[in-house]
């Protein structure tokens, strides 16, 4: 406990927490929205309806503002393991390093190899090739999320390795890659990116309908978005519950922290089945100073039985216990948001069923639209609080039960760590502020409804707008290059 709380260790954690938290602001949009852009493009190619094209090009602008920030902060992430957690990187290298290597080769580069074509290739490559590029960006960014969750999931539930000569050497690749936490953690994260992107669409659409600008166009987008959300939002709650049970099984200290669950058994010897709605935890005393409890709920949630035993904090040595405040409240914020977003999806589809999902009706009673604009921000907060729960819940371990965080920290002075932190606070806030400012600018400008549709004048284009058009771009010859 004393070593864990020394200033260099805490600062190194803060250094990493800051760059990670500011990185996760960008990547979910890239991952989730690239699929939505692909669907919009396909809708345009299949139906020939220009509206889908206009929407695709509009959201693509927001996508690319977001993209640069995501890549730049992602390069930082890749190097930060070695910089801030050198001994950790060395020890986990045989598995974790390999996985990060897989990620750069099969995902990071794959995405970079098609993003230029997707954004700047309009009119320079055929429509089919363009749609293919968008698809590749979507697939590669999802692959990237998968590898990162393999690596992080393994830190939560490190299977398939033995510790030998100071290194975690892999004995079973299958078990290490498909570690128990990854199997549910990755779906949870991937669905989160799709949910976030869908709410991004819905919030921007709601804003335009509120402002009565291109209101019909954005109502047209709102309908399929809400339909997707009625599937995605409850699915995410279901997967989240599964992940909670997985954590209860493989990472009991983390679950105990998330739920403020200090006592495995009640004083009378019966299992403590109570779930804390809210609490004032006191880790050093090993109990809650105050809590509102609901009996049996915790057992129902984690074991799906009425009286199942859920391991509490008292089962573990004091120096193996994580902080409780952050996981407990961050988890509650995330869950609340999850249910609120489900409610928004229900409300929207209910309006649609009653035929009230039209621009006129929505504006007459603007509460739904206003809450939908607000809901655009909530998934970001849910992603943050979810990751804080996950990462702080794993403490004091960096590799759960095998390597303590302080054992993985690099050789750094407090001055160097502070310099890093202050510098990254300045730079990441600049990125954040800049991206926010340009998001609002692009949104205020609205979709471009007048420029000619790319490839529309091509004589060999399919009459419905679909098919592969020849690029209008004049091909230079090699002679001219030389």
């Amino acid at each position: 406990m004393i070593i864990e709380d020394t200033l260099p260790v805490l600062l190194s954690r803060l250094d990493f927490a800051w760059i990670t938290s500011l990185h996760i602001l960008w990547t979910p949009v890239t991952i989730g929205m690239s699929w939505l852009l692909f669907f919009l493009e396909i809708a345009w190619l299949k139906t020939g309806n220009e509206h889908w094209y206009r929407l695709q090009r509009f959201f693509e602008k927001l996508f690319i503002v977001n993209f640069g920030a995501g890549v730049a902060t992602g390069v930082t992430m890749e190097m930060a393991f070695g910089i801030l957690y050198g001994p950790f990187s060395q020890a986990v290298g045989p598995f974790f390093g390999n996985i990060l290597g897989f990620e750069t080769i099969t995902a990071f580069m794959y995405e970079a190899g098609f993003i230029g074509l997707m954004i700047f290739g309009w009119g320079k490559i055929g429509k089919g090739m363009h749609a293919f590029s968008t698809f590749n960006v979507a697939l590669s960014s999802s692959l990237s999320a998968m590898w990162i969750l393999v690596a992080n999931g393994w830190m939560q539930s490190p299977t398939g390795v033995v510790l030998k000569d100071g290194l975690f050497q892999v004995t079973n690749w299958w078990q290490a890659i498909f570690n128990p936490n990854f199997n549910i953690g990755f779906p949870h994260m991937w669905v989160a990116t799709v949910e976030l992107a869908l709410f991004f669409f819905a919030a921007v659409s709601a804003w335009f309908i509120l402002k009565n600008r291109q209101a019909n166009l954005f109502t047209k987008l709102l309908k399929p978005t809400l339909l997707a959300l009625i599937i995605i939002t409850p699915l995410q709650i279901f997967i989240g519950d599964e992940l909670g049970r997985e954590v209860a099984h493989d990472q009991p200290t983390s679950l105990a922290a998330m739920e403020g669950h200090f006592h495995t058994y009640l004083p009378d010897g019966k299992p403590n089945t109570s779930w804390n709605l809210i609490a004032i935890p006191d880790v050093s005393a090993g109990k809650n100073l105050f809590s509102i409890q609901i009996p049996h709920v915790l057992s129902l949630l984690e074991t799906h039985t009425w009286d199942g035993v859920v391991t509490g904090m008292d089962h573990f040595a004091p120096n193996d216990r994580p902080n409780v405040w952050v996981p407990f409240y961050a988890f509650r914020v995330m869950v609340t948001i999850g249910f609120f977003l489900f409610f928004m999806a229900l409300w929207g589809n209910w309006l649609r069923l009653r035929g009230k999902l039209t621009a006129e009706h929505l504006r007459k009673n603007p509460l739904f639209l206003r809450l939908m604009v607000f809901s655009g921000f909530l998934p970001y907060l849910a992603v943050w609080t979810g990751w804080w729960t996950r990462e702080i819940g794993r403490q004091p371990w960096v590799v759960y039960n095998l390597m303590r965080t302080w054992q993985g920290v690099s050789h750094m002075s407090v001055t160097a760590e502070s310099f890093w932190l202050i510098g990254y606070i300045i730079f990441e806030l600049m990125v954040w502020g800049g991206a926010w400012y340009f998001f609002t600018r692009v949104i205020q400008k609205g979709p471009d409804m007048t420029s000619p549709v790319i490839g529309a004048s091509d004589h060999d284009a399919h009459p419905s707008g679909g098919g592969i058009a020849k690029p209008t771009f004049a091909k230079p010859t090699m002679n001219k290059l030389n």
Binding site: T6, K61, I64, G68, V71, A72, G74, V75, T76, F81, G82, I83, G86, P87, S89, Q90, A91, G93, P94, F96, G97, N98, L100, G101, F102, T104, I105, F108, M109, A112, G113, I115, G116, L117, I119, F120, G121, D165, G166, L167, Q169, V170, W173, Q407, V409, H411, M412, S413, A416, G423, F427, M430, V431, F438, R441, V442, F473, K480, L481, N482
Partner: protein, 359 residues
């Protein structure tokens, strides 16, 4: 046991060569982009700067990502090197990353900016300069090696710690990277970047365009500067680096051939440049990078970090290297193919007017 060691050293050497290839690709491609960014600071018209940015709009991200691939390969194949060298290079990498961040967001923001257009244009140039300078410093510092120690990196002693006394960690301080040589290699990287960047701009702009004319003149100047920088770096390296003694050892003939190949490439680059065969000049510049990096890699053998980590000491256990080799090698030609396609799509020469459009 003996066989296993042989497999281990074969696989780690294979990844060491591949790593060298990735670095060469990165330096050739992103060196040009960064150099063009540095050059853009010399342009006083914001639209001209925008034209420079739009010349690489579709390719800069992929070019930069070769660095990430190189980093991923170091982590994947040589994690012991990764965990200690990056710790050693904390300060220069931090500045280089800030440069990369500034430059990346400037690309996306500049198009949409009105009142802040000048600021983002400047951040693009400054970010390129800082990234190139500190990448060069990091390279020079790496060539000099660093101190390592076993024991806990934070200096905390605990009984029965399974991680200490086996793997050596970096044990210097945050400023260990700083030396006259590493500062010089930083300046050298700026000069080399300036040359590659201006040659690249010559190949990307119409030959009667004002930006072309300016870049063409600068490239000539940079090529003389670069030649001088190469000579200084070689002499300096020979004087201070133990491994460089082999240049005049029994294998001097091979090194002489390499030097001649570099000089011929430099001559071809300059003559093609003078004759306005811009693409050929750019390719010869790439050949110089290939020969010089290859020479450096060969000089360091069997070290991956001179006097610090040998290739096989720094490599992963044989089993992990085998997995990396089996699953990732096939992707290398695939990566190169789609990158070539993307660059091919954006090969057309542009004019300074590109700065007026939203790219």
């Amino acid at each position: 046991m003996h066989e296993i060691f042989r497999i281990h050293s074969t696989l780690s050497t294979f990844w060491w060569i591949l790593l060298g290839v990735f670095f060469v690709i990165y330096i050739v491609l992103d060196g040009a982009d960064l150099g063009a960014g540095v050059f853009s600071l010399l342009l006083n018209n914001e639209n001209d700067r925008a034209a420079v940015m739009s010349s690489m709009a579709g390719t800069w991200d992929a070019n930069e990502t070769w660095l990430v691939v190189a980093g991923g390969v170091i982590f994947g194949a040589f994690p012991l090197v990764y965990g200690s060298t990056f710790n050693y290079l904390m300060i220069p990498l931090m500045f280089a990353l800030w440069g990369i961040i500034s430059r990346a967001v400037a690309f996306e923001f500049h198009v949409h900016a009105q009142s802040s257009r000048k600021f983002w244009g400047f951040m693009f140039g400054l970010g390129s300069l800082v990234a190139a300078l500190f990448a060069g410093i990091a390279l020079g510092a790496t060539l000099l090696g660093f101190q390592m120690n076993t024991g806990n990196a934070q200096g905390i002693q605990v009984a029965n710690d399974p991680f200490v006394n086996t793997v050596p960690h970096f044990s210097g301080n945050a400023l260990s990277f700083l030396s006259a040589f590493s500062i010089w290699t930083g300046i050298g990287a700026l000069i080399a970047g300036g040359l590659a960047g201006t040659l690249y701009l010559c190949a990307r702009f119409e030959q009667d365009d004002p930006i072309y004319l300016k870049a063409h003149k600068s490239a000539t100047l940079f090529s003389f500067l670069a030649l001088a920088a190469v000579v200084i770096t070689l002499i300096w390296s020979y004087a201070i680096m133990p491994d460089a003694a082999q240049w005049t050892g029994s294998g001097w003939f091979g090194w002489l051939i390499l030097l001649i190949a570099i000089l011929i490439s430099a001559y071809k680059m300059m003559s093609n440049h003078a004759a306005h065969r811009d693409f050929a000049a750019l390719l010869w510049c790439g050949a110089i990078v290939l020969f010089m990096w290859g020479g450096m890699w060969a000089t360091n053998f069997p070290y991956i970090i001179p006097q610090t980590w040998t290739i096989s000491q720094g490599g992963n256990p044989a089993n992990d290297l085998a997995i990396l080799t089996l699953f990732m090698t096939g992707f290398v030609p695939v990566m190169i193919t789609y990158n070539v396609y993307q660059i091919w799509v954006f090969r057309k020469r542009i004019t300074h007017l590109a700065g007026y459009e939203s790219h």
